[in-house]
Each structure stands twice: as C-alpha cells, then as structure tokens.
Amino acid sequence: MTESGLTVIGANGVAIPEGTHGDAGFRTYEVFQRERVGQSTAKIKPAQLVSREFADDPYPLLAILRENYPCYRDWLNNCFWITRYNDVTSVFTDDANFETRPKAWRLGIEGFGRDLRAALPVLTAQADAWDANCRRLAEAAIADFARRGEADLATEFAARLNMQLWLAMLDVPAETAPQVAALLWRLHRGVSWDPHVRLEGMAAADELATELAPLLEVRRQAPGSDLISAVAGLELADGPAQPKDLVATLLEMDFETLHGALANLWLALLSRAEEFDKVRGDSRYVKLAVLEAFRHSTPVIAAPRFARHEVERFGRLIPKGGLLLCSAAAANRDPRIFADPDRFIAGRKDICHREARGQYRADGLAMGITPGLGPPTMHPAVPEDRPRSLYALTRDALVTASTALLEALDDMALADEAKPPSAICRRLGEMHACWHLPVRFRAR
C-alpha cells in the first residue's frame, strides 16, 4: 500500500527515512507552541467561508481574513486561506514549494489524456483564432439584439462571445456547434465538489472526445489554422495526439475569465456613471477599465495550491500536501497595494498596465490577479517566437468586445435601476460573476 524506501534502524524496529529528518517526520514542540498561541478564530467562523453569504459576496469575509488572519487555518475545509497580495503572488510563483494540481485531478479523470497547452502551435492557434474572430463575433452578437433595445449582456454577450470564440478556435462546424458548446460548458463546470455537476463533467469528457475524434482525424490529414489542427500536427514522443489528449488540453485551458470578466466589467461600468462616462469619452480608457475589472472583480476568486513538502511560511507550519487557497479576490483589494481598493477606478494610478511578471514587476506596480489565466511568468520578457501571454490575449479580447459594444449602442443603462444586478457565485467554488445583466440602450 505504501512505498517508502526506508532504512530500518534500532532493535525496536523504528524506521527513519534515509538521509532526511523530514518526510515521516517528527515535529518540534516549538512549532506547535507558536501555532497554539499565534491565532484564534474569534472574528470569523469557518462555516462562513462555505456559506451562501460567501457565495453571494465574498469580499467582506475575505477582508476579515486579510486584515486579521493573513494565513488562516480553516479546519472545517482543511485549507489555509492566503489573502494578502504579496503572499498570494509569492505562493503563485513559488513552484519549488507549491504545485497546482491539474483540473483533471479535481474533476476525477486524472490520466484521461495529455495536457498539450504548452506546445507552441497550440498557443499560437488560440491567439490567432481569438485575434481573428473576436471583433467579428462581438459584432454578430450585438447585431442580434441591437434592434430590440434591450438585452442581457451577461448571457447574450459575455457568455456567448466566450463560447463562440472557443468554437471558432476549434473551428467546429455549425451543425455540431450547439452540442460541442454544451459539452464544453459541462466539462468545465464539472471541476467542482458537487457530485452532480462533476458526474456531468466526467461524462462530458468522454462525449467530447467522441464528438471531436472525427475532426481530429480529418485535420490530421488536412490541417487548418485551428487548435484541433495544431494538436493533430504535434509530434509527440509517445505517439500522436488522441481525442482524449485534445479534451484534456481543453479542460486545462481557462474557460471562465473572458466570460466572467466581461460581464463583471460591464456591471461595474453601468453601475458607476462617472467611470462609464470616462470610458465613453475616451477609448483609451477601455483598456484601463478592463485592467481594473481584472483587479476589482476577478471572476476566479481563489486558486488552490498544494504544498510539495512541509514548509514554514507566513509564520505557520504548512504540512506536506497542505492546501493553500490563494484568494485573488482578497489580494486584489489589499489596501497595502491598492489605494481605496474597493472602488472601481478606470485609470487608477497604482495598477500595472501589463502583466506584472512575478517578482519582476515591470514598473513596480501590481496588477489584478486573475488565477484563471495562470500565474504571472517569472521571466521579464516573453520569448519572441511565442504569442503574447494569455493575460494580454484575454485583455485584448475584452477591449475589442467592449469597444464594439460602445461603438454600436448609445444610452446604455441598467434595465431596472431599482433592482441593480450583482455578481455572485451560483455554486460555491464556481466563478464569481454577474450572470444576468439586463440593459436597455439605443442602437446607432
């Protein structure tokens, strides 16, 4: 049942791992003593962190953690909450001590297929597809609702654009697009604690592999510029890519940030006349508003990292295998980093205008952390032969889509000022986003 590689010493049969004091290990009294006196849970109850209240609006509770318990030991949910900006980024960038487990593990289909995201043709295919199609698809979506004078921007624009960009990236034929879209949605939503949606996600992985298998074969013979062709054409050491590899790759890709951040951006703008006026008056502000949306209302509010081995950080002993929930939402509103952090300010002075790269923050400023887009790269410059970062790609898609909206519609306003929409997690652990954003407007 176990593999140990131990050297047995002593007549009493006690085994100590060879050459280490660690793995099977013994604690010093000292560490526990510090833990015991170091922290109480008086200001928060762990049950609150899995409550409806938290799912609806996590920010007040995260602020309690950040300001009182920056490394909060949550016994109920068996994790540590990391909530200060510099702590979160330090864990994100510290691959020596911490790891991100693949979504396939979280979904329960570990070993389903190979994750090929890092292959250059795959990266390029995504960047090319988004650049080529974003404006066109945004305009098509707008055209569908423009004449109505009203629309739900969350579903008819943000969610739809994200999905159609994915379909364009895969170059899925129109007749199978609805089916593939539904499978992609179920697949990604399945990364959850909820057994119902997880089961759907696991089933979707199989169905999607079946659905995409013929396309993979066709594109192997006659490649196009899409992502399936890129995967099909990869020369891999252990054989050509299979349909399950394609699905495993799609599973690990970010599916939430474009959708969630676009909805949250427009919720923020339409709820704040002053900021909306800035954006309407000067197109330069669109990008700044997007960066601020990443910071102010990031859709992925926390990302799990696991300790590779026992490590002392933040004054605590983190055991091997310990789960650190690194909360981007809390970090992005850390007053140590951002002035007046709860305010949405398009063009704030203390935000980095590009992906701040790990510990090498280009201009000394911080950015809005978006865990869905992966950790900031440690390297100060992207190699020239690679497409721009996922952060930049997503930012540009948001700018393009929002610009198209601003150009097509006038007098945009919330449909019902009396009942303003808000961002929520529909299910605990799902993205924190505005799921319905009814607006009225006048088409130009």
Binding site: M1, T2, S4, G10, N12, V14, A15, D23, A24, F26, R27, Y29, F32, E35, R36, S40, T41, A42, K45, P46, A47, V50, S51, R52, E53, A55, D56, W75, L76, N77, N78, C79, R101, R106, G108, A140, A141, D144, T155, E156, A159, R160, M163, A182, W185, R186, S192, P195, H196, F306, E310, L317, P319, G321, L323, I424, R426, L428, G429, E430
Partner: protein, 478 residues
C-alpha cells in the same frame, strides 16, 4: 429571448432547487431514522454522495445510512468540498491504524491548538515514549489499584441524590424517583475520577468541568475555538501552581484503609525525565489537558448510551441484572453501536492508491470509526444493539486488536499504536459505576415524557453521532 446562439440560455439554466442554494449549508430534509435522503444517482445506478450532508443536521441525527452508502460505493471517498478523504470500511481502517509510518498522525494540529503538544500528533518511537509517560498509570496494576477509588466516587455521588433540590435533576412522586442521569451522575463521575487519579484537589472539580467542556468543544474547526484557547490558558495557569507544589512534595492515592497506593499522575510526571531532563510545566500541562479532554466526555457518553440502549432493550437489561459479568459485553456493544468518538484523522506519508482512488501524499484521511463499527462485512445486522452478538470481542482491550473465532474488536478506541490510552480506565469507570448504580436503582425505566424528542415530537431523539445528552430515569424507592 432570441439570441442567435440557441445554446447560450439553455446551458446556463440551473435546476431551480439547486440554483437557489449556492452555498454549502443546504438544509437536507430530516429523514426517518435509518433511511438516507436521495442525493441522486449516476446513470449506472450508483447513489451520489453530496459532501454537504456531512455538515447537516440530518447527518448528525441519522448518520448510518449515509456511512453505508460510503462503505458500499465509495470506500475511500474524496470530499472535494472539505478537502478530505473518508475511509469507512473496517478492514481498511484497521490496516491504516497499524501502519503508523504510512498513515501518520502528524500534523493533525486541530487538537494541538487547544490541547497543546501531546502525543496525538506524534508517530513512531516518539509517540510511544510520550504516551507511556502517563499511559502506564492507566493500565494494569496501577489501574486495579484505582478501582476502589472509582467505586467510592460512584457511591458518594449516588448517595448525595437525597440532598439535591433541583427537580430537573432529581424529583420524587408517588414512591418513584426521577433522575436525570447525566446531571446527577454521568457528567461529573468521570471528572471526579480523573481529578483523583491526576491528583487535583477537590475544589478544582468545578473548573475541571469548564476546562474539559470548553477545550473539547473548542478544538480547531469549531466555532468556539477561542473559548477553547482561553480554557486551555486557564488550565495552564492553574496547573502551574500544582506542578510547582508537586515537584517539591509529591502526593498519593490511598486505598479504602487509608494506605497510600501510588503517587498521583501529576506527581509521577513531575519526576519523569525525557532525554535526561525533567518534563517542563508546559509538557505536563499538555499531558494533563489530554487526560482532561479524553477522560470526561467519552466516558460520560459511554455510561449514558449504555443505560439508554439497555433500557430500550429490556430483555438485555434483565440479563445484565441477572448476570453481573455481562456488563463487559454491554459496554463493548454500546461502544460498537454508539460511541462518542467518530473517528481519527490521519495523513498519508506517501502517495497511496486505495480502492482505485489515488490519494496524494499529505492528504487528510479521516478514519471513520463510527462506520467501521457498523460495517456489515464484520458485524451482522450492525444497527441492532445486541450484547449477545457472536461477532464482537468483549474481552480485555488489546492494542493488537482481536480477530479470532469470528469475533472482532470494535473500533471505538481505535487499534494499534494510537489505541486510546484511557480505554481501560474508561471501561472500569463505566462498568464499575454501572454496577453500583444498579444496586441503588430498583426497577429503572426511561421516563419517555421528559426525554428529548425527534422531529416528529413523539419518538425519542436518535443517538446519531452525538451521545445521549440527558437520560431521565424513573426508579422505585421502595
């Protein structure tokens, strides 16, 4: 609403009942005892298991049908909400308990915050050494020496009932006395015993109740953690003075005739050396905190559960009344059927694969003793209380466990290196205390009117995963 993208709205639609509850505090309906709420099924018919049930009121009163689902379908269940793996079958738990290296108790930590540095978080030789510091005083001849003191405490408490004026605890009408056995006996009896064997002065008993209640309900993860820490600090402040005094002048336990039997545990700890040096006051406090925590609630629950279950099964009660030696079987069957400790956490030192589930090294694995004790692979008809069952070992508690002639040990004390060091004294307290109780109680029966009721307002509240909190008994005075 036309979208031009027909899938968009369909796939965002949520089933209404679930969409209304995004959090983890779902109010599961309360089911008839023994029946599980239907949490849905996989296409192949496998029942689904919603991890939110583990924190629900329904689960606390009616856990066993849910454990059965886990045992039958998810013997190693990965709870992704609480980042925990649950191991629920008897055989698996036994193997893990004996593999102290592969399934270590460190860093459990949820108890260390309150209890301090105890051997609970240690493994291997380090664990054995510290456990033996005080564990040796709770077994064998040391324990035998303490039995007269246990019996005396029981008698003193029962004989004091005449002087209790609180009618919610003791009342008399028409030649029938009604006692609430918790308040009148079981809550305090183990505390008195522990106080005595530790060597606490009598006046410490009131504080003792506060310490153990607050510390046990204030372990990590609870909402009363702060109170637990405060109680622990209070205990530490108190013990410091005692320890200083005992270091200079040890104190003793005495037998009925007033002869010294042995030093009390604190006095023994004061002269104990580890690695060539005496234990620090903090180390002694931690050991005491563990005895305080472990020596109260569990025995209280065992006594109340045993009396409740026996009186619910009058023919078994009658058999015990006629044969004094059956108390041992009654005690063990009670702990198998409804113990006070649900399980023990372990961390796997290495990656392991159990029942096809890969558990990454360092994961929290809860060994669910409750479920092991109701594993039908080991105990026939496990939900039935039966002191005569032929598959339960009811002899002397063994660290090695027991598996002979179709009989197995129950798991209430665990098994292997971390077997509860208080198991033997707990056994003696419950059995000796009950023997003496029986001498005083003529024709005892449960006063169902006064007992807490289940949700239907009629039937008695199920035991669930908490022990009986109050037990109202009637007995004849003449």
């Amino acid at each position: 609403m036309a979208t031009g993208c027909p899938f968009a709205l369909d796939i965002f639609a949520e089933p209404k009942d679930r969409a209304e509850d995004p959090g983890a505090q779902f109010d599961f309906p309360l089911m008839p005892e023994g029946q599980a709420y239907d949490m849905g099924h996989a296409p192949d018919g496998t029942p689904l298991f919603d991890p939110r049930i583990l924190q629900s009121a329904e689960f606390f009163r009616n856990p066993y049908p849910y454990y059965r689902i886990l045992r039958d379908h998810y013997p190693v269940y990965h709870d992704r909400l609480h980042n925990t793996y649950y191991v629920t079958r008897y055989e698996d738990i036994t193997r893990c308990y004996f593999d102290d290296e592969g399934f270590n108790t460190i860093p459990k930590g949820s108890s260390s915050g309150v209890l301090g540095n105890t051997q609970l978080e240690l493994s291997g030789v380090e664990h054995r050494r510290r456990r033996n510091l005080y564990g040796q005083h709770l077994v064998g001849q040391s324990l035998k020496n303490r039995i007269p003191a246990i019996q005396r405490q029981a008698r003193e408490m029962i004989e004091a009932w005449d002087g209790i004026n609180d009618t919610s605890v003791v009342s008399v009408a028409d030649g029938v006395r009604t006692v609430e056995l918790g308040m009148a006996f079981a809550n305090e009896f183990p505390i008195r015993v522990v106080c005595e064997v530790l060597g606490f002065p009598k006046e410490a008993q009131d504080d003792f109740y506060y310490w153990y209640n607050s510390m046990m309900s204030g372990l990590g993860g609870s909402e009363t953690h702060q109170q637990g820490l405060e109680a622990r600090q209070h205990l530490e402040d108190y013990v410091e003075g005692i320890v200083e005094a005992r270091r200079k002048q040890p104190t003793y336990l005495y037998d009925e005739a007033g002869n010294p039997i042995s030093k009390d545990i604190i006095s023994k700890l004061c002269e104990t050396k580890v690695d060539g040096d005496y234990l620090s006051t903090e180390e002694i406090t931690s050991n005491i905190a563990l005895v305080v925590g472990g020596g109260g609630e569990t025995t209280r629950g065992a006594i109340l559960n045993m009396w409740y279950l026996l009186l619910q099964n009058p023919e078994q009660f009658e058999a015990v009344r006629n044969d004094d030696s059956l108390w041992d079987a009654a005690f063990h069957e009670t702990l198998r059927h409804s113990s006070s400790i649900g399980g023990q956490p372990r961390h796997n030192t290495y990656d392991v694969v159990m029942h096809g589930v890969r558990v990454p090294a360092g994961s929290l694995m809860e060994m669910v003793d409750f479920s092991a004790n109701h594993d039908e692979r080991v105990f026939k008809d496990p939900e039935t209380f039966n002191i005569f069952r032929d598959d339960l070992y009811t002899g002397k508690i063994l660290r090695s466990g027991y598996n002979k002639n179709g009989r197995r040990n129950h798991m209430a004390f665990g098994v292997g290196p971390h077997l509860c060091p208080g198991a033997w004294i707990s056994h003696q307290e419950a059995v000796e205390g009950s023997r003496i109780l029986l001498k005083y109680l003529k024709n005892p029966r449960i006063n169902t009117e006064r007992m807490p009721k289940d949700v239907d307002g009629v039937s008695l509240k199920p035991l669930g995963i908490v022990s009986v909190r109050e037990l109202h008994l009637d007995y004849d005075l003449a």
